[in-house]
Symmetry: C2
Subunit: 411 residues, 2 copies
């Protein structure tokens, strides 16, 4: 007998009928002898409905009260799912984030989980119940309700799996696994059977949208095997995300991620002094804006150019903040472009193989795509290009690395 | 400066526009120098929407999970009202029942408040905030969410007022006060300026629907001055409910209450032995059915007839339970009638005046209305009559006691 934590997203619980269907699936796993903890999101559309009410009252609604409001979405789902399970003869009990002590920091609307007390959940599992937990929400030290930000239910599931030492954390979603790239862009994209946490982290952070990045971080940190599955198709294997193992399929590149929601800011002619990067990015971070890529080039004189990317929604705010700082620092100019995209190739295989970067750049050059920024890590290479080259670039790279075919035996 | 606890019901917060209006009123009281705690219900229609979802899953939905579901209704309202106050420049903070430790017993769907810890509320009041609390809900010793049953928001408001030692508890509703009887039945019914807790208790318990009975009990027990006001008309005085004072207006009868939702059960030919009443009513009480009137007549032989009334919704269930018990006890027969109503005259003045009962019975007799049951207390006399006589009976009594005119000086 094993312990499984399952997470069903908003679409999977989008109607009473679908909630009944989720209850049937959960009961199926129980019949196989598993203990099951279920984490659910708000019914699809509910979060937007609540946000709509809030925006009617104050267009810039945020902070503490927004969390009090939005957290009701998941609370409705946990109650309905627990009722559905009970009505089918399966003992169940629902819990809000506060009730299972999902302790977070106090950063409303984007809180981070700090601690979970699994005792209450374990007690109910031991009593033979399915435990249904509200995703996306927690409670801070003062007892204020917090939310983890959109997609936070994945993080709740993984954090619970880690706290309970679960055997597997299963994320049910509207896709049947992780693909080599977005099938809407590349029709012959292929579902991966396995992928490492590190690769998934790069895929997720770069916009694969299947899993929330923090969930993968958590899973990697606590080594929780994570499986992405379709909530609509039965019997699929999905994609298993685990630690790298010797006998894993050894592709050079596992997948191609891209991010359409980036915007680029460049501060030109910054005096090249210690602490400059911190003074620019510190102000951005203080405004709770996340920075993605950072590239710095030394200029011809005693100044430097400093470029970074942020989420496109934060572009205007970031331009304002950076504009102020640039004046203080005596920088020459701040330029911005919200019409860029980032494309990345990801794979643990590239660690041991030279020439991956040049194969990538030549494939893009062959299509006449100009590269604006480059950034690399151990297992990924990212380029920023004009928005209009997104599809062309992704397809060219998918072909160049032969991703439509399953990899051969480990080389 | 005084501390006021205000309660706004579902209709008063039924839309974003109305919530804005409530915020304006609250701010008006603040400008007069009062500290304000606001208790709100779910937006009108929301509780029914949630119940509808629950019933789609299980038609007999009740218990723990229903409370988890329904409590989201008030949680939405507190967040929206706090946002509305803040957007108008008034510092505010919302709290669920659990967050302000409204400790109840564990009787889901009809829990009773046992204790309130006012510390958190006092702290925020001291910081200059309006405190917005979700009505209708609490939390039991184990941390499970409970609800107080429909209308429970009134009780929350009064209990909070008592815990905070507030100067007045104001219940905003869709009527502008307590009337001598239902104006839909008697068009010249008159608004009362004052009424005692005891009278209000009898009026409420007998179906006046303006206030929840437990709220009045609480208010009386802790001597919290309670005022019923219209949430739509500004400037009204409403009706103040207080302890009896020497100089209060001394009507013989303050009002006429009636209850259309009663059903009558009679167990005929019960062996006249000690413990019989307990064995019948104990089983009914164990099924959480509330019993209202109880009348027992000794029969001709060694048996007795035992009659009581319950809420009409509980009639079928009560008939089943009482049927079983009656067989065990060797009773002759169980008869039931769900088509009865109860009419009561209420007034502290009747304590010191004889002849009230006979004036009541003669007024009914003059209209040819047959009385099926009679029950009396210190300050009320109730009769059960056929449903069809409801309007006729109430009007006859309103006339007989001259209730359309304000009372003269104390006699």
């Amino acid at each position: 007998m094993s312990l499984i934590v399952q997470k069903y997203g908003g679409t999977s619980v989008g109607s009473v009928e679908r909630i009944q269907h989720v209850a049937d699936r959960v009961i199926g796993y129980r019949r196989q002898g598993h203990d099951v903890v279920v984490v659910v999101s708000a019914m699809s559309g509910e979060t937007d409905r609540l946000l709509g009410l809030a925006r009617e009252i104050r267009p810039d609604a945020d902070g503490r009260e927004l969390d009090v409001l939005l957290s009701t979405g998941e609370q409705v789902t946990i109650a309905l799912l627990a009722m559905a399970l009970e009505s089918k003869g399966c003992p169940a009990r629902s819990f809000t984030g506060a009730q299972v002590h999902i302790r977070t920091d106090s950063a409303h609307n984007k809180a981070r989980i700090q601690e979970i007390d699994g005792a209450r959940v374990r007690r109910d599992l031991a009593d033979g119940r399915v435990v249904v937990v509200a995703g996306f929400q927690g409670v801070d030290e003062m007892g204020n309700i917090t939310t983890l930000g959109r997609g936070g239910s994945d993080t709740t599931a993984v954090a619970l799996a880690a706290a309970l030492n679960a055997d597997e954390c299963q994320i049910f979603t509207d896709v049947d696994g992780v693909y080599t790239t977005d099938p809407r862009v590349v029709p012959n994209a292929r579902r991966l059977e396995r992928i490492t946490f590190e690769e998934m982290l790069e895929m997720a952070s770069l916009g694969s949208k299947v899993l929330q990045i923090r969930a993968v971080e958590f899973a990697g940190k606590y080594n929780v095997p994570l499986r992405v599955l379709s909530s609509f198709e039965e019997g699929g294997e999905g994609t298993l995300i685990t630690l790298e193992e010797g006998d894993m399929e050894q592709a050079l590149i596992s997948g191609i991620a891209f991010n359409q929601n980036e915007a680029q800011l460049t501060v030109e002619g910054v005096p090249d002094q210690p602490g400059v990067a911190h003074r620019i990015l510190g102000a951005v971070a203080d405004a709770n804006i996340e920075v993605d890529m950072i590239v710095q080039n030394v200029g011809a004189d005693a100044t430097t150019d400093f470029t970074f990317t942020v989420h496109r929604n934060d572009f205007d705010k970031a331009m304002r903040i950076v504009g102020e700082r640039a004046r203080e620092l005596g920088a020459r100019e701040v330029k911005g472009d919200p019409r860029i995209v980032k494309i990345s190739i990801v794979g643990v295989g590239m660690r041991s193989h030279a020439g991956i970067a040049s194969r990538m750049f030549s494939a893009l050059a062959a299509e006449g795509i100009n590269i604006r920024m480059i950034s690399t890590s151990e297992i990924k290479i990212s380029v920023v290009v004009d928005e209009k080259y997104l599809e062309l670039g992704v397809r060219a790279l998918h072909d160049a690395f032969g991703l439509e075919h399953a990899p051969q035996e480990a080389s």
